[in-house]
Amino acid sequence: MSAQARFTDALLDPALPCPEGLMTWNGSDLALRFAVYRNNVVVSLVDALADTFPVTRELVGDEFFRAMAQVFVRTYPPRSRVLAGFGRDFPDFVETFPPAAPLPYLADVARLEMLRVQAYHAADVPPLVPAAIAGMLAEPRQLPALRIGCHPSAAILRSSHAVFSLWAAHQGRVCLSAVNPALPETVLVVRVGLDVQTIQLRPAVGLFIAHMMRGTNLATAVDAASADDSGFDLGEALAMLLRWQLITALHTGDHAHEHPY
């Protein structure tokens, strides 16, 4: 085992002794000095998670959050030098973290917060201009086979908990006491320009958009959404795609007539 491997293990596991071969000028106990490094590693990464998951933190309190985040950091330290994506696995960890079990909605709140960070840093792709979209919609023959390219920042979260309301309550948009966390909610996250938007959708509209985002054709996406909710309104769903500038490309099934927008 190399020296840096032992150093790394000791950084992440406080039960291990300090690595051998270290010294201090005044002969003072090494543990306290090595603890500075342990602290730098763990605290900086816990702080990174606290920045990414502010509502999750508020829901459980700072002490609980930091204790939970410490376990995560030590068990799943980052595998990338770019910390913007650190925490992608945190929601799954929260879901299986036994002390968080009394808050079954917590993991989905964390998922929503991670989607917001990912949307913030997602690639810059201009949306299609409305005229190009209107041109396509004016050709009904093409519509069933229509597929879209979706903005890279866009994501749909379909939760069996009131994930949007819980999040919105912490933005001061709604009163937390009025939220029933057990009600299912569906959320669209997308960055429009520089601003990350968090929008509650009807579940069937969310299902439709999720299908379109995966490259499903319009007819199949409508069938899936209608099967989910017989009241599914395609007009409302298309309006959402346009309003939040989700469409970055249009493709018809007929590649000879691909629209090069």
């Binding site: 106990d29 590693v41 980052p78 997602a122 810059d124 960055r191």
Partner: protein, 308 residues
């Protein structure tokens, strides 16, 4: 000679090939908008490279606009030059892409390691100063400079422990690295002071032992105070406080030798409003102005050495 108008001087700085010998500031997202609205008199901005290794969004939007107005220093914190393992070529490619995009006047990294295997530890970890480490660090810096096709600056570390295996002093180690690789020195005066206090060294003597003729940039920051197990002062390189007087004093000592050098005010934690940081930028600029009018002692003409 009449002084250049503020906007002319800023624009010229943005287009210059090197960092201006003025005070600069670490760029923080909290200050993006106020900087663009007020265009403060700052010699350059510095960013942590890894924060901008994201696909798009506001970070690139604002850095692009700020870069049009100001000189830029790209400061890496994740290259892990001291690691036992080979450098991550994908990371070097990501650095090269940022350099192509933003054409920074300076690229710098640390004499430290921060990764093991694929684990990123998000801290700048210490190295034993041995011949073997020296060879590895020099090989890595050669690789960085050839991959990025430019000279890099290497920052002296803040450390809390030393290694029994070390056979070279830190200053000898750094001097050898600079001599062998041709890289420049990013003189972090706060790191220097923190390490000297933490290891019972004479900071002024340590400073004089560094290759001060190769300083391409200076960092100034604040530290936190603790005690070690023996009750001795243990300083933590926190970047969360104003620059301490002892660090200003050492900075002055450094400027006496180097002459004016691009100097960064670094604040990464407990970030105050921009005005507070601009006051520190102004203080550094004051010392840089004075150094401008005082020939550096290292290059002082013979007659200046004569007693009056």
């Amino acid at each position: 000679m009449s002084p250049a108008s503020p906007s002319t001087s800023r624009t010229r700085g943005a287009a210059a090939r090197t960092l201006p010998p003025r005070a600069g500031l670490g760029l923080k997202p909290a200050h993006f908008q106020v900087i663009l609205e007020t265009l403060p008199q700052i010699g350059f901005f510095e960013v942590h490279a890894e924060n901008y290794m994201v696909a798009g969004g506001p970070f690139h939007h604002y850095l692009g606009r700020i870069r049009e107005q100001y000189a830029l220093s790209l400061h890496g914190v994740g290259l892990s030059i001291g690691a036992e393992a080979p450098l991550d070529v994908a990371h070097l490619d990501a650095l090269a892409a940022l350099i192509d995009r933003y054409a920074p006047q300076s690229f710098s990294e640390h004499l430290a390691w921060s990764t093991h295997g694929d684990v990123f530890l998000n801290d700048l970890l210490p190295l034993p100063y041995t011949r073997a480490t020296l060879q590895r660090v020099c090989d890595h810096i050669d690789q960085v400079q050839s991959h990025l096709r430019r000279r890099m600056l290497l920052e002296n570390p803040a450390t809390y422990v030393e290694f029994a295996a070390s056979t070279l002093s830190e200053t000898t180690f750094i001097d050898e690295v600079v001599r062998r690789t041709g890289c420049g020195l990013l003189l972090d005066v706060n790191n220097l002071y923190v390490s000297c206090v933490n290891h019972g060294r004479d900071a002024a003597a340590y400073l004089r032992a560094l290759p001060l003729g190769h300083v391409g940039e200076i960092h100034l920051a604040g530290f936190a105070r603790q005690q070690d197990a023996a009750g001795d002062l243990l300083l933590i390189d926190s970047h969360g406080a104003p620059v301490a007087q002892a660090v200003w004093d050492l900075y002055q000592l450094a400027l006496d030798v180097t002459g004016p050098v691009a100097t960064l005010i670094e604040r990464d934690n407990d970030i105050p409003p921009l005005d507070v940081l601009l006051a520190e930028v102004g203080a550094a600029d004051g010392l840089l102005d004075a150094a401008q009018h005082e020939p550096p002692s290292g290059r002082r003409p013979e007659h200046a050495e004569m007693p009056a």
